[in-house]
């Protein structure tokens, strides 16, 4: 039927051991904004990668304007007018904006680059659609927002008419998200067709015309947005009613456990500091959340707090002990537990077994070694205890290679380990990233249990739902500073968004001097 510009019919795509797309059919009309909704691992990115030519489907066919098309690589997709903005930007850091835009379609005479014409075209497109960029700036030096504009310009430069956006709003402030939606609507009015992948229901309801829902590789259905509700979409996405709120009793904060003063951390890439003069306290029995858009200094702050990086200025006091210059091991011994942001890079040694990973924070203690020789039996029983207590599932128990475990269970293992060891402060950085709804509930329960047991919890999160539901106190970080302190009971997502984008600041309440 010619009313559809793209038809993906009965697409099946397999990887070793998993069927990522199972007989999925998706149809896109010309000038339509069509959302692709699903949880992590539902198969959305895979499906779009098939459309873009990064993968080839085992079964099924793709039709463009009614004609069958073979898309074997991104060049084929490009020739058909299909372009894609990826979730993790595919930009070359050491190149300029202009070089990234022309990469792959370089204007040239006998192989020699001709940049002038390209620069003019880029500036023209940038004006027309209001996408501000500096063509000769290096990618590693520009902001995330501008980087995304570069990705969009890549598509416009190639005169793509079918635009795919993969989780475009993950790194934007609410204001920037609004701008992006305006741009998308303009593209649609011009006759371009848009597919965008997301798991954020608010955005779908605000900008999409229709939505296809995927769950565990299968297509659940396609609905028109004006005929549906957030609740219905969410039910289609997870298969059951999702509880949007977390059950918890009021916090009863006690003594100050963590006290940071004037923390300043320099940036590896910019001349400005990544963290500027941050000071706050965390008390026993409360969950404090550092909220903010990714890239505003949270990562650098946590690195300085946990000891992975050096700070340029400031002091850190934990349980009345100055740990500013202490080694990572000393901080751990002083009562800090850390659930890291990147579980594969920091949290686990993937080539070790489960028991070897579970004991990684304690192997040097007398319980587990004697004169340098590891007590195998002690390690084994400890691992078995944690596995049972925290319901960590794996193929072969303590001797499972952690690489083969699912993401959710890997995270459970890390949480089990960090919670079980002696601590007064639990630092949890994006602990639910990449997990499915059941695992997310589990993690939130554990964090609240820690708080109820009188521990101090410092949570860093990018998910506003999590920030609102789990924390007792919210500190918003923007460009390396704490710009606001909010109470989740009285604030709104919109207000947090204003702080996160720097549009609003309040004087952070005077922090009491350390005793």
């Amino acid at each position: 039927m010619e009313e559809y510009i793209i038809e993906m019919l009965n697409i099946t795509k397999e990887f070793p051991g998993i069927i990522a797309n199972d007989d999925i059919t998706l149809r896109l009309k010309k000038g339509e904004i069509h959302a692709l909704l699903g949880e992590n691992g539902a198969g959305k990115s895979t499906l779009m990668s098939v459309l873009f030519g990064l993968y080839q489907a085992e079964k099924g066919e793709i039709r463009i304007n009614g004609k069958v098309a073979k898309i074997n690589n991104p060049n084929d997709a490009n020739d058909l007018g299909i372009g894609m903005v990826h979730q993790h930007f595919k930009l070359v850091e050491i190149f300029t904006v202009l070089e990234n835009i022309i990469l792959g379609v370089e204007p040239n005479k006998l192989g020699f680059l001709q940049k002038k014409g390209a620069r003019e075209k880029v500036l023209m497109l940038s004006e027309k659609y209001g996408l501000k960029v500096s063509p000769d700036a290096f990618i590693e030096k520009i902001s995330v927002g501008m980087q995304q504009r570069v990705e969009i310009l890549k598509m416009l430069y190639r005169e793509n008419d079918i635009l795919i956006f993969d989780e475009p709003t993950a790194v934007l402030t609410p204001q920037e998200i609004g701008e992006l939606m305006k741009i998308m609507r303009e593209f649609a009015k011009e006759g371009k067709s848009i597919l965008f992948i997301t798991h954020k229901l608010n955005e779908i309801m605000a900008v999409a015309d229709s939505c296809t829902v995927l769950r565990k590789g299968k297509c659940i259905g396609t609905v028109s947005i004006k005929d549906t509700t957030k609740e219905e979409l969410s039910r289609m996405m997870v298969g059951r009613d999702v509880i949007f709120k977390v059950d918890k009793k009021n916090a009863e904060p006690g003594d100050v456990v963590l006290s940071v003063r004037n923390i300043t951390v320099s940036s590896e890439t910019h001349k400005n500091n990544a963290v500027k003069n941050v000071s706050f306290d965390v008390r026993a029995g409360e969950i404090v959340c550092l909220a903010g858009i990714d890239g505003n200094g949270q990562t650098e702050f946590i690195a300085a707090l946990t000891g992975l990086e050096k700070l340029s200025n400031g002091s850190i006091t934990l349980c009345d002990r100055n740990i500013t210059k202490a080694s990572i091991r000393t901080r751990s011994k002083s009562g800090m537990s850390h659930i890291p942001e990147d579980r594969h890079k920091y949290g686990l040694v993937l080539d070790y077994t489960l028991e070897e990973n579970l004991v990684i924070q304690r192997y040097w203690q007398p319980e587990f070694q004697n004169l340098g020789f590891i007590k195998g039996q002690a390690v084994r029983s400890y691992a078995e205890k944690l596995i049972e207590q925290y319901d960590v599932r794996s193929g072969q128990g303590p001797i499972t290679a952690v690489r083969s475990m699912s993401g959710g269970n890997q995270q459970k293992a890390i949480i089990a380990r960090e919670i079980d060891k002696q601590h007064e402060l639990l630092v949890a950085v994006q602990p639910t990233r990449g997990l499915d709804v059941g695992a997310i509930e589990y993690v939130h329960k554990q964090l609240i249990a820690r708080r109820d047991a009188g521990k101090a919890v410092l949570l860093v999160s990018l998910e506003l739902d999590e920030v609102m539901n789990v924390s007792d106190r919210i500190l918003v970080m923007y460009e390396g500073e704490i710009v606001g302190e909010l109470d989740p009971k009285t604030t709104t997502v919109q207000e947090i968004g204003l702080y996160m984008s720097g549009a609003k600041r309040n004087l952070v309440k005077e922090v009491e001097n350390a005793k």
């Binding site: 080694s327 949290g347 040694v349 070790y352 990684i360």
Partner: protein
């Protein structure tokens, strides 16, 4: 019923072994060796077709007549193999084993010539001196990497040359050690030499026993101690090791020092080997040549999957075919053929694991096809429990 469960549990045990990492490393090594030997044979055929079969036969079984020598020549490369393999476990490429080996030789020579000690302890002190020399030359790339972020490959290569020149200068300048008319070192006193194991027609000596013992000690350190735990963790994932509070800098230096000690011992063992002729000993020619045993150690380590026990076997194997190679010279082939074979073996071992996986996948595909055929061919329910047995096997 009883039989099938017993046989199926035996088969499960076999499956466990064949699926284990150690087994696939072993078959990968075999595949690489096989390809290397085939290549060597082809070279022999090209060089001299008439003699190729007898030449190749020598390579394959010549070592059997020279078992003493096999053990003797295996000893230094066992040590350099440990030097490379132990560092690899930590993710460090110790290409500087040659320099550490040469330093070990020098320190052992120095202790042998310049210190006068009673017979029972002289050779022990010389061995220890060699170890210290190697440790020093391992310490240098370690500290450059840990503190200055200089790639250990470049540092090691540079110091291979620096060590080589330095040792030659020091030897040539020492009247006690050096006999300039012969451009060689003098003969070491008998007290400095290692006790022989008394096997006829070979120099095999006590150092072989020490080498095996050291390999076993390294195995225990790697798998049973906290230091080994930290080492492997760092080699697998440096970031996670840092996160867990492990002292990366200290461990890098320690690992390189230990690796250097291994190579230094290798050099000492080579230099202090007893001679079968009374009054003489091993000698060294300071002619600005990088010690080959250091590079052979890389082959030994890779073939042995960087595991101390695996390295014991791979060093014996390489020494074995090297003996065969020298015997093949009876048929006109140059001993360098074996160097070619070894280089080819390493080349293939670099992706032997992958080739292995491809071969296994092919075999599994054929086996699965066979089962599908069997299931498809059996229509009625009478035979259903036969299918179960086949599927469970």
């Amino acid at each position: 019923m009883q039989n099938s469960t017993v046989s199926s549990s035996k088969k499960n045990k076999l499956k466990k072994i064949t699926n284990s990492k150690g087994f696939s490393a072993f078959t990968a090594a075999l595949l690489a060796i096989f390809l290397g030997l085939i290549f060597g044979f082809v070279v022999m055929v090209v060089a001299s077709p008439a003699n190729s079969l007898s030449g190749f036969e020598m390579v394959l079984i010549g070592g059997l007549n020279r078992l003493g020598d096999v053990l003797y020549f295996a000893t230094p490369i066992l040590m350099t193999g440990l030097a490379v393999g132990f560092a690899f476990k930590m993710g460090l490429f110790n290409i500087g084993a040659s320099g550490q080996y040469t330093m070990g030789m020098f320190f052992a020579l120095y202790a042998g010539f310049m210190w006068d000690l009673p017979g029972s302890i002289h050779w022990i002190v010389c061995v220890l001196a060699g170890m210290v020399g190697g440790m020093l030359w391992g310490f240098i790339p370690g500290i450059f990497k840990a503190l200055l972020n200089v790639n250990e490959v470049i540092t090691s290569i540079m110091f291979n040359y620096i060590g080589m020149y330095l040792v030659d200068i020091l030897i040539q300048g020492n009247a006690v050690m050096y006999v300039s008319s012969k451009t060689r070192t003098a003969y070491l006193p008998a007290t400095a030499q290692l006790p022989s194991l008394g096997i006829a027609n070979s120099n095999v000596n006590f150092s072989f026993i020490i080498a095996i013992a050291v390999a076993v000690i390294l195995y225990v350190v790697l798998h049973k101690t906290t230091f080994g735990y930290e080492l492997k963790a760092t080699g697998f994932n440096k970031s996670a090791a840092t996160y867990a509070g492990m002292n990366g800098k200290r461990n890098i230096i320690l690992a390189m020092v230990i690796a250097g000690a291994m190579a230094g011992l290798g050099g000492a063992f080579a230099m202090l080997a007893p001679s079968t002729i009374a009054g003489s000993s091993m000698t060294y020619e300071p002619i600005n040549v990088i010690a080959a045993n250091g590079f052979t150690g890389i082959a030994v380590a890779l073939l042995g999957s960087n595991s101390p026990i695996g390295i014991i076997f791979s060093s014996l194997f390489i020494s074995y075919i090297q003996r065969g190679g020298t015997l093949a010279s009876l048929y006109g082939y140059k001993a360098e053929i074996i160097d070619v074979v070894i280089a080819v073996i390493i080349y293939f071992s670099a992706f032997a694991m992958l080739m292995n996986a491809t071969v296994i996948k092919l075999l599994k595909k054929r086996r699965d096809k066979k089962y599908l055929k069997i299931i498809a061919d059996v229509p009625d329910s009478n035979n259903s429990h036969q299918i179960d047995k086949k599927e469970g096997a």
